[in-house]
Structure formats: structure tokens, C-alpha cells
Assembly symmetry: C2
């Protein structure tokens, strides 16, 4: 970075601009398996205008920028750039407005999902996208995140109706609107969602909220084997039964979670976690149907989590899966696969994956947002064990091929980052030239998170 | 069009290439109020490869192309180009595949919504987007259409998971996938949806279907005045009551519809048409709540349309609104406004609109997809009465300003076409440079439906 830029940024941001090694190291990657890459500086803007100033300056001087949220991304989406600057959005963490009567609100990019739900507690509405981590809503927009409630509430694409984005040239634009629908020109909102900071920096998000359901009921159900659990999930979806969450944990993962999360009276078998949101009577109706389908597939009795506390414990255990695996060893890393297939191909894909994991002798328990056809193998590995890493790479490659053969996608919700660029070439070889054209047209100096999603040259 | 191109297209398409005046006149505009503009020829491709050949040839020779579906668009989206060729997609009308167990199917662009639902009849699933007209699914994608069922099922953006698009240079690309979600790179699917043929021609659409509900119940309810009807709709949404359709017709429109559609035992008052999709018990639960809200606002008893025949008659009357107004006079034209506002601002916007219509002495009954905050004034006018047209323009301009002031959008579902280009400048002045950059990057010779959505230069 040239000295003039550095001086200028220091002048504008003062204590909110840092070149110290410890700060740079804190923003050098997300929850991915990459070696940290330290950017030359980290800057902490507070307003759209400040982000605009940074980008204008960086664009004029061709300095790469990496936007950084809560650092919970998994595919290297936020790994630093040794020639560039990391822009931490953590000071842009305000809820800007709430319109409970329209079920919407506008937040700055780094408001996290839990922070927003805490803020909304009195309003009878909530933000329904739950990727597990307490991620920033701007970051979740950037990777097109989803999680456990997508089966009912959709993904970030579903709930976002508008954005404020700062472009490479410093222009600040406001896309979308507060209305439920619009046909007013190109859908720029959805172009920026999932673009992982390569087209612009999302600084504000307009999100649709949902009414807090009158009744919420959670249950777990054990199955004799994985296939019958997944088959049940598939049937629940195919029968169109209204359900808010339907999560699978395989036997290995259940064993790990029971220990890590100190779950009591829970069996280490392939398991489905269910949650129903609705009126009490509609929930009861749905539950009856789901219980029947479970029984037909050999599932046991439903174990209910009735109180809010029990329910939270259950879902916390589900959300702690990543950490529960990581805790299995010191100095170990964790990599999560993320394929998603049409629901009718899910049983085939998951059972294929479980066999492959055994074949390669991996520690790789499985969890799945099975109502969406999306599942993860949470692979534990020693970063010094090169042989094992070869096996993991082989498993990952084969899983991608299998998913594509089953008309699936290489990533349901984690995005591309650095990790999946070569897989994106497999899934959408014909789309990439179009993506590149768009990238070039909006970021002619290739300063926006370069090297992520695809290599431009 | 130069002669070489004409000779080449004749050679390839033979009888499916026409320069006859009558054919050209048939494809010179949609259901808009523009004077017909005859393109120099009309061509009728049957395959993606044929569309590709046309575009390659036109691109090399800088000949504008206008894609044409069923011609039901309302804003001049499909008006011909006197220097160009119109590409009718009417021979691309095949259902390519149906996966009822995954609730999805793939269709060629000119399969219409009724044709698809007829095709799906035995499969227990249906295509839920219903804009009234029996429009082509490709055309509905191009304008980001929605209609009466968006309140439950969303818009074209919600239900489309992938597209085949032929680009200006003739490249054929397949966007999206069959999965319920994906984070694999830029969301090109949603970029092409709503781009009105200015970025490429949509030739195939992958759509999500919905299970046919166990129970469907329709009712009408009269109100003493428009405000109380709209207020009721607003409350139904704000209480989060599950409803599939909630349509408003004002008194003027009811009078016209009763005559045109020969509705019996129906009163000419401001009216809501409701439809509930669900299980019998969940429908009954929802109906109870809606009846209560209606009563509180002075609404009368619900009049039920129980049989399929009665229900169809009711919704046919709703769908015939456009024709019912058109039938009021010979040689008259009809223009429909299309603003959409946040639901909490709907009462204010609609009552403002009704007063303005009276003030300007317009024949302009109103209907609304009020659950989405979207409504139409269906304005009848004599194309020779220039004074009246000035008033209509004034009303339309003022309505747009009012909607924007109420944080609304200039178009809920009809798109921009030629008609709303200057309004788009009002709603999204800061977005237009980005739209133009993208347009230039994908269509360097500006051959794709030029002059629609925005003027490039």
C-alpha cells in the first residue's frame, strides 16, 4: 500500500485504522481451514460515507479490499489480502428502523442475527434465518446463507428486500424497496446477495421479518439407521406437511453432541430434530402426520422439548455441532462439506457419503438441513497429516461429483470463497464468463475481494 | 435488415420466418396502449440452438431483436422494433420434465400457466403464479410477474430456480439448479428474471411447484366503504393469518364485473375476494379469524363459493376485470396502473387514488392484490381525446409520486417496458448506472430489446 493512501486513511480514521500485526492477525481469515493471510491494514468505518471514502481511495490506487463481518465464514471468503486492506464492518452494528406492522426492518451490515432478535423481542416478530453461528446479517447476505429454518422461511435471498451497497468506485446505491414485491428494473439486490464482496460492500440490509408463531413445538426422534431417518424427512417434505425445522444428525454426530452438549436422556442413534411453528391445532395436525411417517420408517416415539429452556438446549446442541467436532482434538482443524441435492436424491447422496467416510477412515460426523436436501460432513483433521488431507480432498471431490450427478449444487449455503472455485467451474462452467463480465463492468480494477468466487484472469 | 441476414434466416427457418405485413402486425405490441411498431420480420424458433443462431447472426450484424411470448404484457415490453426482428417463442411450448416428488418441473419459455396446470393435473401439484392472463411462463419470468396468489406463494422470483438463457452473442447458458437453495456464485437466475429480454432471451424455465392443497375455500365479503375493506386486508396480513388470495374490487369495478361476468346474488359494494388453501381444519381456523376482522370493520357475512364451478366463476370474474373495463366502450383503450406500497401505507394510498380518480373525472375502477400492497386503477380512455389523456398522465404521475413518498415501488408486477422508463429514473436513479454497466457488458451492440427498461445512451 502506498504511503499516501496510508496517511490519508490514518487522517480520516485515526484510531480506527490499524497496521499493528496483532490486529491484522485478528482479521486474517474466517472459520476456514486456510493459513491466515494478513492484510496490510485493517480499517473500521462507521458509516456508508466512510466505506465510500475507503473504496474511492483504494480504487484510485488499485489497492485490494477484503470486507470482514463476524469472521464466521467457512470457505475462505474473508481470508486477508497481503497487498490490500481488510475493512471490518464491526462498528456498523445498528438497527436502523423496525416496522413491525409491515414485518420488516433495516439494519447495518454487522448487526448479528441474535442481536436483531434480541432487539425485536417486544415486537412480536423475528428474523428467521438461522445458520447456527451468530453471524452478521451483512455477511449472511454476502454468502447467501440459510440454515436450520430455511425449510419454512427460505434463505437470505427470500428475506432480503433491499440493500445499501458501496461500489468499487465509491458510489453508494440503495437497491430494492420496502414493498413485498417489485418489477422495477434489474434485481440488483439479488445480484449482490451471494457475491461475497466481489461486486461491492453491503453496508445495510432491508429484511423481512416473520410473526412469532403462536405455538412452537420441538421434538427428537431416533431411527434404526440413517436411511430411514432421511427417508422420513424426504416424505415429510413430499407430503407438503408444514414444518419449520427438520434436522438430521447421524449416529457419530449424536455420540459427539451428547458428550459435548451434555444432553441427557438422548440416545446415540441416527436422529431427526423437528420443530413446528403455527397455531396449536395446526401444529398438532402436522405432528400427527409426521409421527405416522416416522413410525412407518421404524422411528421411535417423539421425545418432546416443551419448555423454552429444553428447546433452546436442543437447538444449542445442534448449533454446537461444529464446535463439538473441533473439541475432539487439540490443534486439529475442521472442514465442513456443503452439497445440496433435490430431495428425491437425498437418501442416495447421504448414504453414499456415509459409506465413503468409512472407506476413507475419516472422522466426519454428519448433520443435515434435510428438509432442503442440504447436509454437511464435519471433517476433523490434523493439518500436519498430509496423507489424511489427500484422502479428504478425494472424498470432497467425489462428493461434489456425486452431488452434481444427482442434479445437486456444490454449495447449499456456505458460498465459494477460495475453497470452491474449482468446483464452481464444474457446476457452472457456462455461467462463469457472464459472472466475469459483470465483475469487470462493476470493478474494473479488480479491487473487490479479488481471488474469491473465481479468478478473474 | 441487410439482405444477407434475411437470406440466411430464410434458409434456416424456411416457413418459420416471415416478412409479411399481417404477421408482423400480429407481433407489433402486447396488451399495451402503444401504437403498433412492425419489426422487419418475425421468426419462430423451436430450439435453444435456433435462438442462438438468430442472436449470433443479429449480433454480428447489429440487428435489434424483440422477444415475444403471448403478447399479454402491459407496459410496451414487447412493442416491435422497426429496424429489427421479433422472435416469437410460441413454438417453444413443451413441458420438458416434471418431478412431482421434488415439486419441480422444467418448461420451454412459451408454455402458458394454464397449459402447465392442465399438464400437471394428475400429479397432485400445481404452478401457483397467477397473473390473470394465460401468459407464457418465460414472459412472466421476463417481467417478474405475480398476481392473485403471491400473498401465499410469492412471485416468479420465488418459484424459479433456474433458467436457460441465450445471450446476445449466441451463447446458451443454464443458470441455477434443481435444488431448493444454492450459494454457487452470482445469482444469474434472478438477474435475468425481470430484465425484460434486455440481457438475453429466456428459453427454458425451471419452476418450483406446490402441492395441491387438501382444502380450498373461497368467499366474498362486502364492505360499506373502500377504506374498511382495505383496512381488513391489511389486518389479515398483519395478524399473519395464512391466506392464499385476498383481492379487492372497489364499487365501480364491482358494478362493471357484475354486468360483464353475469354474477348473480352479488352486491355492488367495495368487496374482498378471499381464498384459503390448507387442511380443512387450518382453513376453518383462518376463516374464523378473517371473519372476525371483517366484522369489526363493518364487513357483511361471507358468501361462500363452495363448488369448483362457483369458485372458478368467481375468479374468472376477477381475472376478466381488464376485459370488463375494455368492453365499456368501442375503440377505447385501457391502461392499468401498478404501484405497490408497504401494507401499512395501503389504506392511505388507495383512498388517495380513489379521490384523485374522481377529481379528474376518470373511468378508472380499481382492483388490488391487497395482501401484497399492490393495486391497479384500470383506466378507460378514448385515444383521440387528448385532453383526457393529459389528465390520465397527471393522475399516473401523481400516483407514482404518492407511492414513492409512501416507500412504495412504481411497479409491483408489470415491469417497466417503454411506459415506465421515466418513473424508473425516479425510483432508482442510483441503480441505473449499474444496470447500464451490466447491460453493456452482456450486450455490447445493444441488440437485446433495446429501448426497453432504460435508454442506454
Amino acid at each position: 500500500m502506498n504511503e499516501l493512501v496510508q496517511t490519508e486513511l490514518k487522517k480520516i480514521f485515526n484510531g480506527r485504522f490499524s497496521t499493528s500485526e496483532s490486529t491484522r492477525a485478528n482479521y486474517a481469515r474466517g472459520e476456514d481451514t486456510y493459513e491466515p493471510v494478513l492484510s496490510q491494514a485493517v480499517v473500521f468505518p462507521e458509516t456508508n460515507e466512510e466505506v465510500s471514502k475507503i473504496l474511492k481511495l483504494c480504487n484510485e490506487n488499485k489497492i485490494p479490499v477484503v470486507p470482514f463481518g463476524t469472521g464466521t465464514s467457512l470457505e475462505g471468503n474473508a481470508v486477508g489480502n497481503s497487498n490490500g486492506i481488510t475493512i471490518s464492518l464491526e462498528k456498523m452494528n445498528k438497527v436502523l428502523s423496525v416496522n413491525a406492522e409491515d414485518f420488516d426492518c433495516r439494519v447495518q451490515a454487522n448487526v448479528t442475527r441474535k442481536q436483531l432478535n434480541e432487539y425485536l423481542r417486544e415486537d412480536g416478530v423475528f428474523f428467521p434465518i438461522d445458520p447456527g453461528a451468530d453471524a452478521a446479517i451483512g455477511g449472511m447476505a454476502s454468502t447467501s446463507a440459510s440454515g436450520t429454518m430455511a425449510v419454512k422461511y427460505g434463505t437470505m435471498r427470500t428475506v432480503i428486500s433491499g440493500l445499501t451497497v458501496v461500489l468499487a468506485n465509491g458510489e453508494i446505491i440503495k437497491t430494492g424497496s420496502r414493498t413485498k414485491k417489485s418489477s422495477a428494473g434489474y434485481n440488483l439486490t439479488n445480484l449482490f446477495i451471494g457475491s461475497e464482496g466481489t461486486l461491492g460492500i453491503i453496508t445495510e440490509v432491508q429484511v423481512r421479518l416473520s410473526p412469532i408463531p403462536e405455538s412452537i413445538m420441538s421434538a427428537v426422534c431416533y431411527f434404526p439407521d440413517l436411511d430411514s431417518a432421511v427417508q422420513t424427512a424426504q416424505e415429510v417434505i413430499q407430503y407438503g406437511i408444514p414444518i419449520a425445522r427438520i434436522e438430521m444428525l447421524n449416529k457419530d454426530q449424536m455420540e459427539i453432541s451428547i458428550k459435548y452438549s451434555k444432553l441427557e436422556n438422548i440416545k446415540a442413534s441416527p436422529t431427526l430434530f423437528f420443530e413446528f411453528h403455527g397455531s396449536e391445532s395446526s401444529n398438532k395436525e402436522a405432528i400427527k402426520l409426521v409421527e405416522e411417517l416416522s413410525k412407518n420408517n421404524g422411528g421411535g416415539d417423539f421425545k418432546w422439548a416443551v419448555s423454552l429452556e429444553e428447546r433452546n438446549k436442543l437447538w444449542q446442541a445442534r448449533h454446537d455441532v461444529y464446535w463439538s467436532v473441533k473439541a475432539l482434538g487439540n490443534n486439529m482443524k475442521v472442514y465442513s462439506t456443503d452439497v445440496c441435492v433435490p430431495i428425491s436424491n437425498l437418501v442416495e447422496c447421504i448414504s453414499w457419503a456415509e459409506k465413503e467416510v468409512k472407506k476413507h477412515d475419516l472422522i466426519a460426523p454428519m448433520v443435515g438441513h434435510v428438509g432442503d436436501g442440504n447436509f454437511h460432513s464435519i471433517i476433523l483433521f490434523d493439518p500436519n497429516d498430509k496423507e489424511k488431507q489427500k484422502k479428504i480432498r478425494k472424498y470432497s471431490d467425489d462428493l461434489i461429483s456425486k452431488a452434481l450427478e444427482l442434479e445437486g449444487t456444490i454449495t447449499g449455503e456456505h458460498g465459494i470463497g477460495l475453497q470452491k472455485k474449482h468446483y464452481l467451474l464444474k457446476e457452472h462452467p457456462d455461467n462463469i464468463p457472464v459472472m466475469k463480465s459483470i465483475k469487470r463492468s462493476l470493478d474494473e480494477n479488480n479491487i473487490m475481494n479479488p481471488g474469491k468466487v473465481f479468478d478473474l484472469n
